[in-house]
Amino acid sequence: MGHDKDHHEDEILPHGTLTPGKFCMWVFLGSDAMGFAAFISAYIVLRMASPQWIPDTLPEPPVVLTGINTFILICSSVTMVFAYQSICQGKVRAMNNWLLATLIGGIVFLGIQYVEWSHLLHGMETAEGQWYPMTPDTGPYAATFYACTGYHGLHVTVGVIYIFVMWVRGMLGHIQEKDSSEIEILGLYWHFVDLVWIILFTIIYLIPAF
């Protein structure tokens, strides 16, 4: 308990100060991680117990397309860091631009995932020219794929809305240097979503490729 002094709205807190919002976000992220943990452990258990994980009739997950998507998401985390750095230095316009870049990154990620899902759901062209629709009821492989990526996609969607709100507020000039912790909280959430994606990408996309 550092200071017994009251916290005033207009006071610029030193960097790294644990504000209630930031603390709450950390607690929430711990909570959310447990939710993902349930999905991921379901994935691991079902996969370990399955004699043949990807049935012959279903396509493997598209590693290249999603690899690009992963790269985009990681880039959007980097732009988020720049947005935070800008507001810490009081550069509101730069922050707005970086937030916009992050926002675009998130939207592109969702777009590519939409394309991927619709391809899988409607079937993909294989070398033999066949179409195999991968609907959620075709077994644990499809079920876990859609559940894990879908639950993550939901988080990205929430994140995109969150970034959009903050970007609009930034454009209206409601975010100043003293509010840098708000961008930090946004960044915490976004980095978390990014981190979860790297885990999901590894276990869902990369491991089948071997």
Binding site: M1, G2, G35, A42, L46, S50, D137, T138
Partner: protein, 610 residues
């Protein structure tokens, strides 16, 4: 380094909608939760009465001459609900009653009563804050609980009736074998309640860590707050697990995914192979076992406090009590497998889970030692809250010790899914939490509404409730030891259970007594609210911060945030002569710079509990 925060004083809203309905004030939200919890307690209690009615007079109950007597119609409600059968409960509804009783009591009655109502009401008052860290989130938490409760109630009225696969909703039964909408509404309702609890939990943790008054170190918090803190931590960490599990269950139900659904019947219904039934049980019990402690930890905290307050003596071994509660939290997360000893789980896992389960008895024993140590050499005032707290020691003793039967792998082969288990967990989760909650209502009612409840009536209520509740659950353990399975609508079908039917009837009578003695409580609440004698600021002569305020407190609680100089348990300190207590807000005693517990370390390491 942690920094403390406090809210500014805001003008309270004057519009009654914002003042009483969508209020940001934690005290109003606490009272809303209290009303919510009491409503669902009544619904859950009514369902319990239906269950006991059915078990007292099951369909194939033999008479003295061997003829079958048959069921009796349920009084009053029976004819309204089941006119086709003359008021007799159909077996389907028995399963609904069992399921909804369990889930309503766990998620919509007991949790909102202790963590919801008292968590909201007490946390800011006892730590010296003007409100929760996020008042809006707090309001949202309650108003998320409301649609969740509506979904639960609504599910009774949809086609096919409410959920009927047990509060555990074990997978193939809750997926392929439950075609109605009721099960889906049930799942959505509990997911929503979980979201509400997560919102509440993050808020509680943030408030307790960052909004304490100056001098209110973690080791000066009342034990109630510690209990609520641990509950919030478990809530936040484990409710998302079950929410994810229930989402997968919903997907299985509506999109025919293959998470948990397998078997010949599922295949005939068009499910692809590959689902894992036991996976659901693991996911459910990873949450399910901490849930037991989620509901009981606040009760432990309150009981620890009340015992000290009314024994007029410092709580014995404060630090060990906190450590024991923390240790139980940690242990509770690694013992879930003891619910699955006979489920077909790998037996080698069973050994680990069994050992971990037995370890829970060590911190529990420390709790008992400290409770009894608090009473030792005290000067006990037998007020109604104190009597309830004492009976919690009694019933939790019964419940906790019978846990040792169920933790044993070998014995569980016989006792699993029997009424012995039902009796055991009702003693721990229901009786001790319910009695603790009632004690808390009697204790904090004056602070909530500024009026006292009637003491003699409260004592009669206590006596009737404690005795009847003990008979009910001890009777359940008795029939369970004889092999009575749980969730059977008609035990008389089984020849070997015939010696137990009389016991069943007796248990039911005691249950009716327990139910109807709550009328005394209701009368006392209503009378106290409208006509109780004014309470004054500190009717119980207690030391925690809420008693320094007016009853009920102002909307912003504290005009000036007090500086805390003592631990919460300064009773009969020999240094002071004029009274036998010293409030936490009072200045230090001359000559003594700080009370003995002041040496406690600061709070930097508290998140380690997670």
């Amino acid at each position: 380094m942690l920094r403390r925060y406090e809210h500014h004083i805001h003008e309270p809203p004057t519009n009654p909608i914002w003042k009483y309905v969508f209020s940001y004030d934690h005290k109003i939200i606490g009272i809303q939760f209290l009303i919510y919890a009491l409503f669902f307690l009544a619904v859950g209690g009514l369902l319990a009465m239906m269950i006991r009615w059915q078990l007292a007079w099951p369909a194939s109950l033999p008479g003295p001459d061997g003829t079958i007597l048959g069921s009796k119609p349920f009084p009053i409600l029976g004819m309204m609900l089941w006119p086709n059968s003359g008021g007799i409960m159909p077996p389907d509804f028995y399963n609904i009653a069992v399921t909804m009783h369990g889930s309503i009591m766990v998620f919509f009655a007991i949790s909102p009563l202790l963590a919801g109502a008292f968590g909201n009401f007490l946390i800011p008052l006892q730590i010296g804050a003007r409100d929760m860290a996020f008042p809006f989130l707090n309001m949202l938490s309650f108003w998320t609980m409301v649609p969740a409760g509506i979904l639960m109630i609504a599910s009774f009225f949809v086609e096919g009736g409410a959920a009927q696969s047990g509060w555990t909703a074990y997978a193939p039964l809750s997926t392929v074998a439950a075609p109605g909408l009721g099960q889906s509404l049930w799942l959505l309702g509990i997911i929503l309640a979980g979201v509400a609890s997560i919102m509440g939990g993050t808020n509680y943790i943030t408030t307790i860590i960052l909004y304490r008054a100056p001098g209110m170190t973690m080791m000066r918090l009342p034990l109630t707050i510690w209990g609520l803190f641990f509950t919030a931590v478990l809530n936040v960490l484990y409710l998302p697990v079950v929410a994810s599990g229930f989402m997968m269950l919903l997907l299985d139900r509506h999109l025919m995914t293959t998470f948990f659904t397998t078997g010949v019947y599922a295949a005939a219904e068009g499910f692809a192979p590959g689902g894992q039934v036991l996976l659901y049980q693991h996911i459910f019990w990873v949450f399910g076992h901490p849930e037991v402690y989620i509901v009981i930890l606040p009760a432990w905290g309150m009981v620890s406090d009340l015992l000290s307050f009314f024994a007029r003596k410092p709580a014995f071994g404060y630090r060990e009590t906190v450590l024991a509660m923390g240790m139980i939290c940690v242990l509770s997360t690694v013992v879930w497998g003891h619910h699955m000893f006979v489920s077909g789980m790998n037996p080698y896992l069973g050994r680990v889970f069994s050992m971990a389960t037995f370890m829970v008895s060590i911190p529990s024993a420390i709790l008992f030692l400290n409770w009894l140590g608090t009473l030792y050499k005290g000067s006990i005032r037998f007020t109604t809250p104190m009597l309830f707290s004492l009976s919690v020691i009694f019933v939790f003793g019964l419940g906790g010790l019978t846990g040792l039967f169920n933790g044993s792998q070998g014995l569980d082969l016989y006792l699993h899914d029997s009424y012995f288990v039902v009796g055991h967990f009702h003693f721990t989760m229901a009786a001790s939490v319910f009695l603790g909650g009632l004690g808390a209502v009697y204790f904090w009612f004056p602070k909530m509404f500024g009026r006292m409840m009637n003491e003699p009536l409260g004592k009669v209520h206590w006596l009737l409730t404690t005795i009847s509740v003990t008979i009910v659950f001890a009777g359940m353990m008795y029939v369970g030891a004889y092999g009575h399975m749980r969730r059977v609508a008609d035990p008389a079908v089984y020849q070997f259970l015939h010696p137990m039917l009389k016991v069943n009837t007796m248990v039911s009578m005691a249950a009716f007594c327990a139910f109807f003695s709550q009328a005394l409580f209701a009368a006392n609440l209503i009378h106290g609210f409208f006509a109780g004698p004014p309470a004054g600021d500190n009717p119980w002569e207690c030391t925690t911060l809420e008693w320094s305020l007016s009853s009920p407190p102002k909307p912003h609680n504290f005009d000036e945030i007090p500086t805390v100089h003592h631990g919460p348990f300064e009773y009969n300190n020999p240094e002071i002569d004029d009274k036998d207590w010293l409030g936490q807000w009072e200045p230090p005693i001359g000559g003594l710079p700080e009370a003995p517990e002041a040496g406690a370390s600061d709070d930097a390491g508290e998140e380690g509990e997670e």
